[in-house]
Structure formats: structure tokens, C-alpha cells
Amino acid sequence: MAPRLSRLLDWFQERLGTREQLTCFLYRRLPEGTTWWHTLGSAALFLILLQTLTGFFLAFYYVPSPEHAYDSLVYIQNEIPFGRYVRGLHYWGASLTVVVVFFHLLRVFFMGAYKYPRELSWVVGVFLFLLVMLFGFTGYLLPWDQKAYWATVVGTHIAGTAPLVGDYLWRILQGGATVGARTLGRFYAAHVLILPVVLYAFILVHLSMVIYQGIAPTPRRGFDRIRKEEYDRLYEASKGKGETFFEHLLRDGVVALPLLLLLVWMAAAWKVPMEGVADPTDTEYVPRPEWYFYFLFELLWQFPGKWIPVATFYIPLAAVLLLLLLPFFDRTAGRSPLKRPLASGLATAALAAIAFLTYQGATAPPPPKAGAALSREMAALPPALARGRAVYDAQGCSACHVLKGTGTAAGPDLTRVGARRDAEWLKRFVRDPAAVKPDSAMPPYTDLPAEDLDALARYLASLK
């Protein structure tokens, strides 16, 4: 080492004990057999640091007020050098962070790493996961475009369905009776000031626990099923045989680099979706949440009327409590996912449910096309059927039915309804659904003119 550098290190050494601390940090031994899965935590940290950095710089130009927020983002995207790129990094980085943090949580779950002595690391980790989701929710409003505005209207309404405190929660979230200037101010302050401070405090605790307890061993060779009493001894023995943290850092880097390249590619190649400026007076808009909240939005289908809080409050609350308390009620010795089939099975079922709901949300049919596209479709139909098609549109059938891939899937898909039902049955059903099928949720169309009903039934019966 160059003498000058060495002298500098000595200076710090005298004041901070740098050498011991670095040695202790970098050369601590890890248990035997750490895997690539063990890099997910550092990958999450890497992405969070990147989000912080891009966020800092976006804040230089972004203005958190309804009059200027949208324009300031347009300005960032169109006028500032690298503006589109920097915003792209932050936007796609958010989704990537959610994915990586979630996979990190899964890794820890399936390796039983939340068990003794890492129960608290898990609890803090669950809070970190929730914080990342909160970042997503608050950050989504900031562009103040239509999807941001309406997703937040739905989000705060959902918070408002909580029992007892719902109304207060709703107003406190919004900062008033509507989503407006104060909502934007709150979400901004939370997103750029409060949440980051809390997040980094939790990260600090999370990391110091990792350093204190050591990284969790891979659940095999004795660790697949182990009692608390034997754990300390075996872990101590295993630590000698593993690589050092310094060596493990290489793995972390090898994972971080492609992740960064992926993000760079996304930011450079993909356009950040941006709609028109938020318009609270628009009654034609169809709100959609960001993809990682699809599961909640889709879950709402299952719980109508007075059951709404089950989907919006009780299930999410139960899920969070289950996660937080997991290490305290799951005290079995098994750590390998194969040695604890109940926990693994339940988690896989929950994962499948979330994946299914997310898939449903992602593939939900778009609203029906209006204007030119529709008239072209009508022109292709024989006049007798076109009339029925016109009735279908005029009566708002697509608000509850899907036809040829567009509409809302509240009721049955009608794309091939003619193969199941004839015109006569359809006429009777539309007139008074409950009389034909007592459990039908469809409202009756008693005042539909007879010739419209005929045309509609004829059209629907032709769909085979």
C-alpha cells in the first residue's frame, strides 16, 4: 500500500478503529453452503438505494401541487436532459423493488430463516415490506394524472371501509373530504420525508440484526430440522467452514449488476405510462390500481355489500398479523420447506391465490371500444342483428358482461351465449332474470320496448 494512503488509514484507525471494524465486517465468516438465494436481501437494498438516489433528483424539479404536479412531470420528461430516463429508472425501479422484496420474503419463509434466533429480523422485515408497499401507494399519486388520481380515490375509499375508524382514516389520508391539494401534499411529505426516514431506520435495525446473528444457514445438513438448544452449537461450528462475507459480496455484486442492467433497459426502452392530467369531474374514467394492488382490487369481487370490509380490512389485517406473528406460533423444529409441509402448503396456497388474483387483474377485459371501432363492427353485421347490437350498447350491458373480450366480468361472458341459450329463453331472462333463475343478480329490464328486446335476444342468440 502506498505510504500516503497507509498514513491516512492510520489516522482514521487512531480515531475510529477503522481497521478492526472493517475486518470484523468484511471478514466475518458465513455459515457453510450460503446460496444465490441469499443475495435477494442485498439486491433489495441495492434497489432501495437506487430509488432513493433517483428520488432525490426527481425532487429537484417536481412540484407537489395539483396545479403544477402534472406539468412539472411533463417538463421533467420532455425538457430536462435524461429526464425520461431518470423518471423511468424511478418508475420501473419501484415495481422491481416490490418484486425483489417479495422474493426476499419468500426466500426467508421457505428456508425457515424466521426461526430462532431471527424472529425479530423477520418482524422488522415484514414492516419493511409494508413500508415498500406504502411507498408504492403514496408515490403512485404524485404524477397527478388520471390513473394516479382515480387509483387514489379508490385506495382512500378502501381505507374508508374499515370498521369504526373508517371515516376518520379516510379523511386523515385525504387531508379532507376529497382527494385534492392536501392529499397530494400529504402523500408527497410521506413519500419523500417520513417513509424514507422510517424505512432506513428499519433497514438499519434489520442489517444490524443480520450482522449480530449472522446470515441464516441454508436448511440442509443438520439445519433442515433443528431444535433451539442445538442451534447455537451447530451454527458456530458451521460458521468456520463457510466463505467470508467479503467473498459473499461478490455474489451480491453478480446479482446486482444484471438487475441494474435490466432496470436500465426498462428505463431506456419502455415509456412510463402517463395519462391526461387528473380530472375529478370525469365520469367516463375507469379506475385501475397499480399491478401490485390488483389482488386487492380483484378480491373485492368476492365480497359485495355488507361483506366489503372482509376484503378491504379483515383479510389484509389477518394476513399482516399472520406474517408478523409467524415466528411466534410456528415453533416447530423443521426449517427445510419439505420438513414442514403444513406451513409450506399454506404459503403455497396463499401464493397461488395472490398469483391468480393478480393474473385476473392483469388480464381483465378493457372497457368496450366506442365510436369508430364500434360502428365498423356494426357495419359488418346484417341489419337485423346490428339493431340488437345497438340495444346492447345503449342499455349498458357491457357494464356487467364481457362480449368478445371487452366489458366488465361481473356477470357471465356473453361471447358465445347463443350456444347455451335460444332467443326465447334470453327474452324471458332479460325481462325478469329472477323469475327464470332465482339466484340471478341481474336487475330486470321490464321497461325495455318489446322490439328492442326482440332485437337484443336475436343478436345474443346469434353469438355462437
Binding site: G17, R28, P66, E67, W150, V153, V154, T156, H157, I158, T161, D167, Y168, R171, I172, L173, Q174, G175, G176, A177, T178, G180, A181, R182, Y212, G214, P280, T281, D282, T283, E284, Y285, V286, P287, L300, W301, F303, P304, G305, K306, I308, T312, P367, A394, Q395, G396, A399, C400, T408, A410, G411, A441, M442, P443, Y445, D447
Partner: protein
């Protein structure tokens, strides 16, 4: 790694003996200081954060339109505007409402948000129904739930008519029988 209490330099630390009286005094003084901070900083901050959100907004009348614009028996979508300009935040300079003229000088002024999770409902005059675009909520012309998940009828605004002009005031929730239940943000 060592698993016993140790200070930054590695030597073990044991709590020094403190006389019970002195310990009590320290606890009281420290507790007092913390209470004082909570009182003069924490409480005002909590109020600063929460109260503007919880304050019942004073009644601000929205000008909906001249009575002649609302044919009897029909539902019209209207951009209502506040009568008085408001200092910052200038939120919602205009508000969309649906107006039903029920005849004999009676009106129903609907809030556009579906009572399920707040998506904007559309009035479909041919079908004579309000449709929500999100989860299949359907309401009749009086705002009653016909189908789907909404838990209650459409919310409404109080209204008044002055010199041939219709004004809307605060929003309120109604019961299944369409009677007043409570102000929207009580």
C-alpha cells in the same frame, strides 16, 4: 461473535450502582422533560396533521344551474361551480353532479362516486340506470342499488332553489329507503 454485553471498545460493562432515591429523581425529571416535549411539540403537530382533515367543512354552495335546464323527469350531468372563490387550496374548482328533476320543485342531486370503492358512475339514459365501471355496481334513477357490490344507495347533496337557480350544499348518505342517514363526512 461474542454474546455478552460489551462496550464499543470491547470491555464488558456492568451498570454502576445508583442510589434508589437518585434513580427515582432521574426518572421523574427525564419523564417530565419528555412529557413537556410531547405537550408543546407532539400534540400541536398531531393537531396540525389531523385536524384540517377532520374539520367539518362549512357549507359551501355550488351553483348547479338554472331550473329551466332540468326537464322534469330527466337526469342531467352538470359541472357545478362553487359560488365563492376559495383561497388555497383551490381544490375542485368544479364538481360533477347528476341532477334528477322529480317535478313539483323537487330535485335529487347525486354524488358521482359509487358507494362501493368510489369509481365514478355513469348515467345511461336509455337504460335508465347508473353504472359503475369497476365491479358491476348498478343503481336505478333514484340511486337505489339494483345489482353488484355497493353497500348503500348513491350519496346525495342537499339543495336549495333561489331565484330560479339550483344550488347544491353538503353531501349526505341515505338509507335503503332513501331517507337522510348522515352527513357524508361526519
Amino acid at each position: 461473535m461474542e454474546r455478552k454485553a460489551s462496550g464499543p471498545l470491547g470491555e464488558s460493562v456492568s451498570p454502576p450502582a445508583v442510589a434508589p432515591g437518585r434513580r427515582r429523581l432521574l426518572t421523574v425529571v427525564l419523564g417530565g422533560i419528555l412529557t413537556a416535549i410531547a405537550g408543546v411539540v407532539g400534540a400541536p403537530l398531531a393537531a396540525f396533521f389531523a385536524l384540517p382533515a377532520l374539520r367539518l367543512s362549512e357549507r359551501r354552495w355550488l351553483e348547479v344551474g338554472r331550473l329551466a335546464e332540468f326537464p322534469e323527469g330527466e337526469i342531467k350531468k352538470v359541472l357545478a361551480r362553487p359560488l365563492t372563490a376559495q383561497a388555497w387550496p383551490y381544490e375542485t374548482p368544479r364538481v360533477t353532479v347528476y341532477v334528477l328533476n322529480r317535478g313539483a320543485g323537487k330535485f335529487t342531486v347525486f354524488n358521482i362516486h359509487c358507494t362501493h370503492v368510489g369509481c365514478p358512475v355513469r348515467w345511461n339514459p336509455q337504460a335508465g340506470r347508473f353504472f359503475s365501471p369497476c365491479h358491476g355496481g348498478v343503481f336505478d334513477r333514484d340511486g337505489r342499488v339494483l345489482a353488484g357490490p355497493p353497500p348503500r344507495p348513491l350519496d346525495r347533496y342537499e339543495y336549495k332553489v333561489e331565484k330560479g337557480v339550483l344550488y347544491a350544499g353538503r353531501a349526505y348518505k341515505v338509507t335503503e329507503r332513501l331517507e337522510f342517514r348522515e352527513w357524508h363526512h361526519a
